[in-house]
Symmetry: C2
Subunit: 115 residues, 2 copies
DNA sequence: TCGTTGTGCAACTATTCAGTTGCGCGTCGC
DNA sequence: GCGACGCGCAACTGAATAGTTGCACAACGA
């Protein structure tokens, strides 16, 4: 795989991740998982009368597709758990962009001083 | 302002931020700004034939609304620059969620060992 | 002054998407 | 076995969104 292809693929992954995070329902459910530990769909949907269980289910699948949570069947329940590794990848991505900007500004400053 | 209101407001901000990042066009433009330094709209739209200048403009405004970039008029050009501070806020948010999860797991483990 | 360049505003369209509804199926408890 | 509970699948609908188009306007250069 070429270097450019690599970048494109990781970019697509980052887009998927941030898009999953960029929704109030999903972010609150993620926070609920974060400080409540693993939980089933119905559990995540209760105290959330604004939406059907099916609605919450769809959102959970978006989070799963982004790799932010992992699901597993336990009896008749579907239990979801956070995947902190993916969160770390998100942080890493933001770091890269920020540091790239710092470098660009440094180069720009250098260029101005030279001329 | 109540504590709960505070949380809700910061959550809304985080949602806005991640939603802005969760789009291929916006993320690539952000990366372009990151390692190319400040640039005007036309500059950001060129070599990007898949979209009109107006399309790119809208995306830039979404990024601006999320606080990720700052725009300023320079002559007849509108120049956009990255705001790394906002990127740091995003990282901070992800850290909070991840650490909350670690704590939850620790509590869970403790609870299991106790019983 | 005149052509060019960079931009902003507003309206339109087509597509996508969120969320609901209705159903059927496995699983647990009595 | 039988009811209740938790869940998955598929189809539908209204609403939001992305992107375009057409225009007008200010700034720069010759």
């Amino acid at each position: 795989m070429t270097w450019r292809k690599r970048v494109e693929r990781s970019l697509a992954g980052a887009v998927l991740l941030f898009a999953a995070l960029g929704d109030p329902t999903r972010l609150t459910r993620l926070q609920r998982l974060s400080d409540g530990g693993p939980a089933s769909i119905s559990l995540l949907a209760e105290r959330f009368r604004a939406m059907t269980r099916q609605g919450v289910r769809k959102h959970l699948h978006v989070l799963a597709a982004a790799g932010l949570i992992n699901g597993s069947r336990q009896g008749r329940e579907h239990v979801w758990a956070l995947n902190p590794k993916r969160l770390a990848e998100g942080r890493r991505c933001l770091e890269v962009i920020a540091s790239g900007w710092d470098d660009a500004l440094a180069r720009l400053k250098l260029h101005v001083e030279e001329s």
